[in-house]
């Protein structure tokens, strides 16, 4: 088959429409968050919104390029792209620029880019390529499972070294992809229970938790029909949980950096830190909370004008939505975001090719994870982890990488009809 140009009718216009709604809406929010009466020119290239406008142009152009590329390209070059992003990540470690405590930037002729952003779709491509082979059985083959984990963990480790906790955590969203590809549900469940245990470990002394677990285990054993195997199993679970709780306590006290500890403590309500993380969240909540039902209207937000919400154009952009458009606006935003996720989920599921499906799921899970953390953070439900809200937040690297991430999938999806037809040819 010769190179296929997707016909316009085969592009998923709904996704594309949602993309532009978010990007344009985001631009307006950025404009509102750094708006000054003295300098209202939205075209000003020195301000964040002016720069973002340029980035939207660049992203649209690159998005168009992606739509014009042969869909086989992504399959064929999945590993090289992954390799390049890994190399870039290592390069950052050597020659990176430090911005706000994280050394994750590379200076490229006046532009700063953040390779960690691009590692997301690099990893998604590599994982899809790896798992789509005909003789690959993820469900059964232990070696395949380990290698998949390796593909995901390698960039995580490098990004962690760059002191970018937020971007590192994004890669945990791939666990949902693996779940779709056959990772047993109980691992998800155990992971969820472990997360609960971890939070408890931070909230109270490990000894109490261990005692509590032991009591639960005894009650459990009294209620069920006891077999030797079950008793040993229960004992094992209690001991392992105890070990985990203690080690979390140790890591928290001895390995984590002070600012990370503070952020977590603030979230858990153990510490009040009005100047640091707690202040940010408090101000963010004031901004959102003061929006009321209908919001204060475009450019009418007061909290942002006095710069009470820090990082408002990047990590705390949701505050502007909450403050200026109120509950109604926030609700619309969340519904639109959910429609996008649902749409992408549908698209992923309708793919005939495993490669396309796995990549699609990766896109969905990455976008979902960003949404959970970013919006949760502004609402005081998640720790303050600096990751952007996709398509909305200010930031060239982020916008570009999300665009590439999404448009590759749109391109892959646009080809599905060809496959069908090819089958009848």
């Amino acid at each position: 088959m010769t190179a296929q140009q997707p016909k316009p009718s085969r592009i998923d216009w709904i996704t594309l429409l949602l993309y532009y709604i978010f990007v344009i809406g985001g631009l307006l929010c950025i404009y509102a968050s750094v708006y000054k009466e003295t300098n209202p020119n939205i075209w000003d290239g020195s301000m964040n919104y002016g720069k973002q406008l340029v980035w939207i142009g660049i992203s649209s152009f690159i998005g168009l390029m992606i739509l014009l590329v042969d869909e086989k390209f992504f399959y064929a070059f999945a590993y090289p792209i992954y390799g390049i992003t890994i190399l870039l990540l290592i390069l950052v470690l050597v020659a990176g620029t430090t911005v706000k405590g994280s050394s994750s930037w590379i200076e490229l002729g006046g532009f700063r880019i953040q390779p960690a952003e691009f590692a997301k779709f690099g990893t998604a491509l590599a994982l899809a390529r790896f798992l789509c082979g005909y003789n690959v059985n993820f469900e059964k083959d232990r070696k395949i499972q380990l290698l998949s984990a390796g593909i995901i963990i390698l960039p995580m480790l490098i990004i962690l070294l760059q002191n970018e906790t937020g971007s590192t955590l994004v890669f945990t969203s791939f666990i949902l992809v693996l779940f779709r590809e056959g990772l047993p549900g109980w691992i998800l469940f155990v992971g969820f229970m472990l997360a609960i245990l971890a939070v408890m470990a931070l909230l109270m002394p490990p000894l109490y938790i261990i005692i509590g677990l032991a009591v639960l285990a005894v009650i459990f054993l009294l209620l069920v029909r006891r077999t030797t195997q079950l008793i040993w199993l229960t004992l094992g679970v209690v001991i392992l949980s105890g070990a985990m709780v203690s080690s979390i306590d140790y890591v928290f006290e001895n390995v984590m950096q002070a600012h990370q500890r503070t952020r977590i403590n603030v979230l858990l309500g153990k510490e009040v830190d009005i100047k640091g993380a707690g202040y940010n969240v408090q101000q963010s909540k004031i901004a959102i909370g003061s929006g009321g039902v209908w919001g204060k209207g475009f450019l009418q937000g007061t909290q942002n004008k006095f710069r009470f919400v820090p990082e408002q154009s990047t990590d705390f952009i949701f505050c502007t939505i909450g403050e200026e458009y109120g509950f109604a606006g926030s609700l619309v935003f969340i519904i639109l975001y959910m429609i996008l996720l649902y749409r992408l989920l549908m698209m992923a599921e309708r793919q005939r090719q495993k490669f396309n499906r796995i990549y699609g799921y990766s896109v969905v899970c990455i976008l979902f994870f960003h949404f959970v953390i970013n919006v949760g953070m502004t609402l005081g439900l998640m720790p303050v982890i600096g990751i952007p809200l996709p398509f909305i937040s200010y930031g060239g690297s982020a916008l570009l990488s999300f665009t590439v991430l999404l448009f590759i999938f749109i391109r892959l999806d646009a080809n599905r009809v060809n496959e069908l037809r090819g089958a009848y040819d």
């Binding site: 779940f179 909370g289 003061s290 009321g292 509950f327 989920l345 599921e349 979902f368 609402l379």
Partner: protein
């Protein structure tokens, strides 16, 4: 689980999160109205509460330094809105150029941020403050901060107290951001050494300010506020009455007085003359006044008693007597003749020959040159360097040649050379006692600060040890916690050698060179010194302690270029000891008058030629 179910599971997770977030939004945007309130009072202002700086008292609880409120005009640049520059300048009484210059200066400051409060004008006057307060409405972004500056109840002890001033960039850097541009910090004296104790800890108050720059109340009832912790109060070991008398006595004279309580090392008086009024270095004019004082040729800022080394002259004979005995080259019966001098060192007329006690009483130069010679040419040591090093070691043990560690900034080490210095000058083994004979009578390569003199007297008074002199007696009514100030520093002289020397020192007062210093009913032991120096007339030096048994005060007085030790230094020391021991200083009216009125400064210009 089939694929459809897996997709469903993911969808359920997505929707649950969305529902949780929507309900959270519903709660904070619609149910909980407190956020609207905070947003309406839309400016959260972080105000710094400056702690009151610790007060300073003298040893008897007399207040010396207290605080006075001053008003600083601060601004958060980003909050300025529609500023009427003209009326603003009018209220502050500045012109447009100054207004523009101030802005330019503020923006150049390190750590400038348009969202952080900075001081626009320091220490505005109370009328300006009042006028400003009325028009606060017009000047959004500006506010007044209250701080405290120092006030001095007496004009005394300027050098001891030191002064406070604005922090420098380096201070800010070193403090990890605790200090802010415009904060006060101790720059010299006790204010500097005890900055940590006196300074207290700043507090923070979060205040809600509405869009019209009016304070609406405290943020969350002050839940996030931190209270300022006031600085600790300090009791100096200085006796204010003694200090004041001493400064009066040194008026129009150049010199120093140091008085120490021998048992404790507490400094009772520390006088540097000429001095200045500490109230000069306070307030808006601080900088200008400081420059004036700095340019004054009389150098009033120079802290003489702790940093200026003087040749000790004859008071060093006391130390010589002790060293000689310790080194077994001298005992109380050793007698030397005096033929009005020793080689090229002259002496005055007195009975001859004399034993140790008598030699101290009349301050015989020949006698102590002999002692020095027998010390340095001591056959016990093979080389002159070894013998001299013993001399060095003994002098060092009295606190000479090194900073004693007083709790004031700028203490000098004095001058005490090691043998290596003379080796370099004359060649190894190529010098001997006669080469450096003048050191035997406290001249030559010897420089001792008045503090070291007083400390040496205290060591004699204690019969063999001194306590490190210090100026702060109590902090918040607890004894100064520095362990150094509770440690006895033993000299290298055996206690048994002291009594005969002390007898000699008593003779100095009873019928020797310092008869003028005698106070009826008090046993004083002292020694005069008349130190030749390259700056003009001899320095008049005297050190003494009293009473002889159970000494309460050890004192050293240096009056520069004024003649014999007995002429000025001894009477001044006597009057001050009388004041400290009896609480009175006017029993010898004529002497007091003469000392108070003595004006030596006009004589300083003519360098009188020195004769023996």
């Amino acid at each position: 689980m089939n694929n459809y179910a897996k997709q469903r599971t993911l969808l359920i997770i997505f929707i649950s999160v969305a529902l949780i977030y929507v309900s959270r939004l519903f709660y904070i945007q619609i149910v909980d109205t407190s956020y609207v309130f905070y947003a309406q009072n839309n400016v959260l202002q972080e105000q710094t509460i400056y702690p009151a700086r610790g007060l300073i008292y003298d040893r008897n609880g007399e207040l010396l330094v207290y605080n006075d409120a001053i008003y600083d005009l601060s601004v958060i640049p980003e909050q300025i809105k529609n500023l009427d520059t003209l009326s603003f300048c009018k209220v502050l009484n500045i012109d447009k150029v100054e207004f523009i210059n101030t802005w330019a200066r503020l923006k150049r400051q390190k750590g400038y941020s348009p969202w952080k409060p900075i001081v626009f004008q320091r220490q505005i006057t109370i009328p300006t403050y009042a006028a400003f307060q009325e028009k606060l409405f017009d000047f959004q972004g500006f506010f007044v901060e209250v701080r405290t500056d120092r006030k001095y109840k007496h004009n005394n002890a300027a050098h001891v107290m030191g002064y406070i001033g604005e922090v420098t960039d380096r201070d800010i850097e070193k403090s990890n951001g605790y200090y802010r541009m415009g904060d006060f910090i101790g720059i010299s004296g006790v204010e500097r050494t005890y900055e940590k104790e006196l300074g207290g800890i700043k507090g923070t108050r979060y205040v809600l300010v509405d869009s019209k720059n009016r304070t609406q109340g405290r943020y969350k009832n002050g839940e996030f506020d931190t209270a300022a912790i006031a600085g600790k109060n300090i009791n100096l070991s200085i006796d204010q009455n003694l200090q004041a008398l001493g400064e009066a006595l040194l008026m129009n004279k150049t010199g120093s007085v140091v008085a120490i309580e021998p048992k404790t090392g507490e400094v009772l008086a520390l006088i540097s003359s000429p001095t200045y009024d500490p109230n000069l270095l306070v307030g808006r004019e601080r900088g200008n006044k400081y420059m004036e004082l700095l340019k004054d040729p009389a150098k009033p800022l120079f802290d003489r008693p702790i940093s200026a080394p003087y040749p000790p002259g004859s008071i060093f004979k006391v130390i010589m007597s002790l060293m000689g005995q310790q080194e077994q080259v001298l005992n109380q019966n050793t007698t030397y003749g005096c033929h009005r001098g020793y080689l090229f060192v002259g002496c005055h007329a007195h009975n001859s020959p004399l034993a140790l006690r008598g030699a101290i009483a009349v301050s015989c130069n020949a006698y102590f040159c002999q002692v020095y010679r027998s010390l340095i040419n001591n056959p016990k040591y093979k080389y002159v360097e070894d013998a001299y090093n013993e001399f060095y070691k003994h002098a060092y043990s009295f606190g000479m040649g090194h900073a004693l560690g007083i709790d004031l900034f700028g203490e000098g080490p004095g001058v005490l050379k090691k043998a290596a210095y003379f080796d370099k000058l004359y060649g190894r083994h190529h010098w001997q006692a006669l080469t450096t004979i003048s050191m035997g009578i406290g001249q030559g390569e010897l420089g001792i600060t008045p503090l070291q003199m007083a400390n040496a007297t205290a060591a004699v008074a204690n019969r063999g040890y001194y306590m490190t002199p210090h100026i702060v007696k109590r902090i918040n009514n607890h004894a100064n916690p520095n362990p150094e100030y509770n440690t006895k520093h033993w000299t290298t002289i055996d206690t048994s050698y002291f009594p005969i020397v002390i007898e000699g020192m008593q003779d100095v007062i009873e019928h020797g060179t310092a008869y003028i210093a005698k106070i009826p009913g008090i046993e004083i032991c002292g020694k005069t010194g008349t130190a030749q120096n390259p700056h003009g007339k001899d320095h008049s030096i005297f050190f003494a302690f009293a009473p002889k048994n159970n000494p309460k005060i050890a004192i050293a007085v240096v009056i520069e270029n004024s003649g014999f030790g007995a002429t000025w230094a001894a009477p001044i020391a006597s009057l001050m000891m009388e004041q400290y021991l009896t609480g009175k200083h006017d029993t010898r009216k004529a002497l007091l008058e003469r000392m108070l009125k003595g004006n030596l400064n006009h004589r300083n210009d003519s360098t009188t030629t020195k004769t023996q």
